[in-house]
């Protein structure tokens, strides 16, 4: 699948847009996980179980984001 990996008209520019995105997405992933956990705990009165689960998932999502971006970059 070569043709779609770059341009026929010139060298593909570096994918720096993803780098702009990565830093913010790491923080947001953790905030989303912890925030979702806090909401669930408040709703179900189970504090702090879902907050902890949300935190683990949020940190996991942040790590997944790094892995995903690295994977995509290496494929390019």
């Amino acid at each position: 699948m070569g043709p779609d990996q770059g341009s026929d008209d010139g060298a593909p520019p570096p994918n720096w847009g993803v780098a702009f995105d990565l830093g913010l997405r790491l923080g947001i992933s953790v905030i989303l996980g912890v925030g979702g956990g806090l909401l669930l705990d408040n709703w179900l009165h189970t504090s702090p179980i879902f907050t902890l689960i949300g935190m683990v998932l949020g940190i996991g999502a942040a790590m997944y984001t790094i892995w995903d971006v690295a994977k995509q970059s290496m494929r390019r």
Partner: protein
Amino acid sequence: MVHVEIRAEELFAIGPLIVTNSMVGALLASAILLFAARWFTRRSGIVPSRAQSIIELPIEFLAGIVRGTGGTRWRQFAPLVLAIFLFVLTANWLSLLPGVGTIGFAEEVEGKKVIVPFVRAAAADLNFTLGLALISFVSFVAFGLRANGLRGYLKELLVAEPAYMTPLLTPIHLISELSRVISLSMRLFGNVFAGEVLLATMLALTTATIFILPLAFVIPGVFIGLELLFGLVQALVFALLSMTYITLAIAEHREHGSDEHPSGESPEQGAAPAHGAA
């Protein structure tokens, strides 16, 4: 005294629709783009005039990037990416015009008289940036669906590689997807809102030095110049990230197809239907 509220201020209401000053900013940017497009399509020629060249310059610049990184299907999403870029750029630069954010009606807030501007930078309102981010999100989901098919897309989103990891990895994947929308919207909002606050602060500070004329004009001038640059960069980042997400949504399918079938043209497994977008 000029003040900047984090929330867009209400100007008037049409029935249940509350019209805020950031909505006026967004509508003005749309109107400018519509008139420019109408003027441009009527007067453009094969040999461009000077004005036409100036208008074509940013479009050709971004079109070159989209052509370079967008893969073979760049023509499908180039109009969307260019429209997002021009809209955000116009909205950002509109906010730097004299009168925008400074002319309004006086209102008393906590005993102090403040100006509620008639027009405010559209991107200094989270509703605007979130709306744009949602358009971008829906677009890359739609392009992913078109390339992957519904089954293939859901499989990609919800089923992890070792199947027993699915209960753990699916919520992680969903959080990661959702973080794209929030990161897109918060970045644009944060930068533009911070620019508004910075300009208001600088104007307030230099008002005190009005008798030292060079300072009163030079300092706000420097920051307005910087805001011109930031407005361009933020519009570019928003448009390029939208393009990157769309490209990845299409490329994921191709790579999966090429993993399973070296030709990559005819995935025969039911989970990954054929290319929807030729």
